[in-house]
């Protein structure tokens, strides 16, 4: 009787420790998106430049969809990398970046880009957060990598970081035959 309790006690302790050991590999801030490996919800809205913009038009290319807003503090931190990334990938024909400026005003967005630098790619304007809700955006910034067939392959919660493209995007893009 007593030895059963002893075994249960030790196994319980071991189980908890094992759980922690496995749990340590997770990042608690990462929220899995049910959209990964699903078709990206399409959008066709007015861009910040006043012209229409449609995601499906980019079929055949890898698209980095970056959700941001001028109200978002982390977006300021992320911005230098987006400027670099846009410059470095401008020559690529298989990769484009689209910004989605959500929950924002046109003046706010224009001020943000004037102040922190304009990366040159286009931005869908989503003041009523319609696109953001379709995509299940939880906070800003959030970025999605959409493959040439229109499937979401990667979700990045929080700012993109220097080296992200080489570490995350390129392997996927090059794995494609």
């Amino acid at each position: 009787m007593k030895s059963i309790w002893q075994t249960v006690l030790l196994l319980g302790v071991l189980a908890i420790l094992a759980l922690f050991a496995l749990g340590l590999r997770n990042d608690p801030h990462e929220i899995p998106s049910p959209l990964v490996n699903r078709p990206a919800p399409d959008f066709a809205v007015q861009a910040l430049d006043g012209q229409p913009i449609r995601l499906a038009d980019q079929r055949g290319k890898w698209v980095l969809v970056n959700f941001w807003g001028s109200w978002c503090v982390s977006c300021v931190a992320e911005h230098p990398y987006l400027l670099d990334l846009a410059r470095a990938t401008r020559a690529r024909s298989d990769f484009v970046i689209i910004g989605v400026d959500f929950k924002d005003t046109e003046q706010g967005a224009a001020q943000f880009l004037a102040r922190h630098g304009n990366p040159g790619y286009r931005h869908a304007f989503d003041p009523a957060q319609k696109i953001a809700i379709d995509w299940g955006v939880y906070g800003a910034p959030e970025s999605y990598l959409v493959d040439p067939s229109g499937m979401i392959r990667v979700k990045q919660t929080g700012p993109l970081y220097p080296g992200w493209f080489e570490k995350v995007a390129l392997p996927l893009m090059e794995a494609k035959p």
Binding site: K2, L9, L19, H29, I31
Partner: protein
């Protein structure tokens, strides 16, 4: 220059801790008392060195030395001086240093107090505490050093997280840490008792005050946390079953079980292994709390920076400690086989047994609720969260059971309760419980748990008053007040404990009031608008601005009227500039009946603002109940050790050779 001195002192302290542990261990095995004494001196010097190390970090804060990374990250020129001094525990590195310093302090006090009286177990205590402190210092020195420099130094610091710039910050963490670390001493005594085979009553008598001290500081820490959450987070509640809250609550539950079951061991010599298990578990859960908070496996409102290497180290450290402690317990438990059995189910011992089972079950349900999301996430990569619905369903019934036992406890005698006495004593509390049911109906409490709680509250009050009354009656020769004073003075421990119970009853009133009768209004108001909530008429008088220390705020001024009395209430949304997340400062007007609680939200448009207004009945009872618990424990701690050992004499096998 100074911080390097502190760093150097911490490194020396680390080496001394290894000495404390290693040399003492050798001394034990080679029977060299001199070596053990070296270990003792090492622990004292280590404490002094750590004090110096903590002092240099505090000094760096006070002198705005932003070339120290930790200072640059957690302070600024604008930070008021009382937060500067306490910013020591405003972040990960400093918290750990503070933890280690407390451990060294308690270690030194324990050695000093018990050196001559516990000659056999103290060497082992030196070994255990020295190893533990060394383990923490590895974490501090190599993985999260508060002594690092930042070159070139910035002109100003990043400031303390505005959420932490609150009086709650000054009290909540240190009390919580004192509680966590305080359990290290009874834990070390228990381990020493197991290892030396003297697992009788000696360790329990030696650590009675330590345990009470740790328990009361943990209680204060938890309640301060709840209070802080209540008036800063602005959601009208005080407890959210957040993983980090749970982490502090679990050791509290097992420690509460320990405080009770220890009495059974003292009086009747029962539950010896169980007590060892409880104190080891309590300390293990304290460490688990530290692990959960510091490693970043769980996300919560307390989310601190997660760093994988730290997490791995803390996990390894905790694994060694847990496997060692529980391993020793399992291996040595045979020593404690007990010839004494429970005599009757109707006895104080069995009431304590059930109290223990319920408290441990409660701790287990909290542990399950806390770990379940982690397990699901780890095994299936989906996110779940376990919230109040789970805890309300499983936790409240357990607590009601404990409340029932709390009422029965004082009325029932040791060994075997006499039916005649039961018949004499129970009608009054049971009658009061029935009155409680009526009262609940009159008060319009419809929730069955609410009704049961009110009945049990009166039951407990009834049985406790009756107990006191009988005690006074037994001294019939004296005048009432004389008798009462003599009674309380002779049994500080007992009546201190009963006072804690009444504090808990009072808190239960707060739980019912705020849990079942909270009213909430979510609305937009323009200056001049009025709204009715309960018996209060709340008028938004004006919107304005305010500034103090290092913040500016939007301020809504309300007039709350109720009959003749009228109060001015100011709800703010503070902006601390550097870290631009605004902080709500709820306006709270407290009366014994209810709190009026106003939170300023976002502006809707020009001159129109969002507000949430709560009426939180009986919340003040929580804080008063907690204060009563603290007074009760302090009263119980006044009782010296002599009378405690007197009560333990019936157990013949108390001290083994």
């Amino acid at each position: 220059m100074w911080i390097e001195l502190g760093h150097f002192a911490a490194i020396l302290a680390f080496l001394l801790c290894i000495t404390q542990s290693g040399v003492t261990l050798l001394g034990i095995y080679r029977s060299q008392p001199v070596w053990v004494r070296i270990g003792k001196q090492a622990s004292m010097v280590a404490f002094l060195l750590l004090t110096l190390a903590v002092g240099t970090v505090v000094a760096a804060f006070l002198t705005h030395d932003f070339s120290v990374r930790y200072v640059a990250e957690h302070a600024s020129l604008e930070l008021p001086v009382f937060y500067l001094a306490t910013a020591l525990w405003g972040g990960h590195e400093g918290s750990l240093l503070f933890w280690a310093w407390l451990l060294a302090l308690f270690n030194a006090i324990a050695i000093w107090r018990h050196w001559s009286s516990h000659t056999r177990s103290l060497p082992w205590i030196l070994v255990i505490l020295g190893a533990m402190l060394a383990g923490f210092l590895v974490l501090i020195l190599f993985l999260s050093s508060p002594f690092d420099r930042l070159i070139p130094p910035p002109g100003n610091g990043r400031d303390l997280n505005p959420m932490l710039q609150d009086p709650g910050m000054v009290f909540h963490p240190p009390f919580l840490y004192m509680g966590y670390v305080g359990f290290a001493i009874p834990y070390a005594f228990a381990m020493a008792a197991l290892i030396t085979g003297q697992a009788g009553d000696e360790w329990i008598l030696a650590t009675r005050r330590w345990t009470l001290f740790a328990w009361v500081t943990l209680t204060i820490g938890i309640v301060f946390g709840a209070y802080w959450a209540y008036y800063v987070l602005g959601w009208g509640g005080y407890w959210a079953w957040d993983p980090v809250e749970n982490a502090s609550f679990m050791p509290w539950l097992t420690a509460t079980a320990f405080l009770h079951s220890v009495m059974v061991q003292e009086r009747r010599g029962l539950f010896k292994t169980w007590n060892l298990f409880l104190i080891i578990t309590t300390f293990a859960l304290s460490l688990l709390g530290t692990f959960l908070v510091r490693s970043g496996v769980l996300s919560s409102v307390h989310a601190f920076a997660s760093d994988p290497s730290r997490g791995v180290y803390i996990l390894v450290f905790m694994s060694i400690l847990l496997l060692f402690s529980f391993g020793v317990l399992v291996l040595r438990a045979e020593l404690l086989r007990n010839p004494i059995q429970l005599e009757s189910l109707l006895s104080k011992e069995s009431a304590f047994l059930f109290n223990n089972l319920l408290l441990v079950t409660a701790a287990l349900t909290v542990l399950l609720g806390t770990l379940y999301p982690l397990a699901v996430e780890t095994l299936s990569a989906t996110k779940v969260s376990v919230g109040p619905p789970y805890y309300n369903k499983v936790f409240i019934p357990i607590m009601l059971g404990i409340l029932l036992l709390m009422g029965i406890g004082p009325l029932i005698s040791w060994r075997r309760a006499l039916p005649a006495r039961l018949k004499r004593d129970f009608p009054i509390p049971v009658g009061l419980a029935l009155v409680g049911v009526l009262l609940a109906v009159l008060l319009d409490i419809s929730h069955p748990y609410g009704v049961v709680t009110v009945a049990l509250m009166l039951f407990v009050v009834g049985s406790h008053s009756l107990d006191l009354w009988r005690g006074v009656q037994a001294r019939a020769s004296m005048a009432f007040w004389h008798a009462l004073r003599a009674l309380l003075a002779r049994n500080k421990r007992r009546y201190g404990g009963l006072m804690v119970h009444l504090g808990i009853v009072m808190m239960c009133g707060g739980f019912i009031g705020s849990g079942l009768f909270q009213q909430e209004l979510d609305l937009t108001l323009a200056p001049g608008d009025s709204v009715q909530l309960g018996r209060w008429t709340v008028t938004l008088e004006r919107m304005g601005e305010a500034a103090k220390y290092n913040w500016t705020a939007v301020e809504a001024t309300f007039r709350a009227q109720n009959g003749q009395s009228s109060v001015i209430m100011k709800a703010q949304k503070r902006n601390y500039g550097k870290r631009s997340q605004p902080i709500t400062e709820a306006a709270i007007h407290t009366t014994w009946r209810e709190d009026l609680y106003i939170v300023l939200g976002d502006p809707v448009k020009e001159n129109l603002w969002n507000f949430r207004i709560y009426r939180n009945p009986l919340v003040a009872w929580l804080w008063w109940g907690a204060a009563m618990m603290v007074c009760g424990v302090i009263f119980a701690m006044l009782q010296g050790r002599r009378s405690a050992s007197f009560t333990s004499s019936p157990s013949p096998d108390g001290v083994q050779p």
